[in-house]
Symmetry: C2
Subunit: 119 residues, 2 copies
Amino acid sequence: MTMKVQEQEQDIEKTGIVLKLLGDKTRLSMMKLLEKHECCVCEFVEMYHISQSAISQHLRKLRDVGLVKEHRRGQWIFYSLNTTSDAYELVLSVLAFVPDQDGHIRELEKQGLRINCSN
Amino acid sequence: MTMKVQEQEQDIEKTGIVLKLLGDKTRLSMMKLLEKHECCVCEFVEMYHISQSAISQHLRKLRDVGLVKEHRRGQWIFYSLNTTSDAYELVLSVLAFVPDQDGHIRELEKQGLRINCSN
DNA sequence: TGAACATATAAGCATATGCTGATATGCTGA
DNA sequence: TCAGCATATCAGCATATGCTTATATGTTCA
């Protein structure tokens, strides 16, 4: 069951689905953030200035394909990358080309809107 | 002007556009083929069983963003990857996860439909 | 020049996508 | 238990996308 790095030949169909998901500016930015941070829905809402509904639907798509996972902590649901996804390596490879999105986080912190239950 | 490999931070907008282009099964397959072979429009038409117009429009989109380039040879126009594209590294990284599409080429050869002006 | 072939463009259709506002569900703490 | 907040889902709309057919443009060769 050997498998060369960089060549976990996914089905081309599935690869296309993942790339289509990443091919949206909002989702791509969200994924880049999730690479390093856990975020909850309300944080994304503040960051991108689109409706809570829109954020929720983006996250649902990402989760349906298994790219992100969620876990509830109190009334918040935190999202993070699903490192066990078949597409995880592909996702990381792509995200390496996406500029850092931490500005959004800093913006939140400046406004005191960053949720931090992680301690 | 140093630049770490894997981190040619493209604009996130532009990265999104490239990923959206690659997020179509037909275009993704075409790009994978173009990674190793030059192909002309009529070959793609035979391979994918969609209209010549559809193929032409896919190629136009890829070319508009600079992912592929063309050059005419007689009455055929051959397409190939544009290795000078800003997104070339990204494209290669993605294609590494796409299974080989050479079966399409072999199919063409079996039918005697492969154009070969390259010699 | 004109027939035959390769490719590009135009127009139109069906479906997919991203967004919004309204509403439903779930959790918490008084 | 209920008010208040976080999140999810529903319905609907505007736009984008992928495809087709019809037509235009470009190239070759007799």
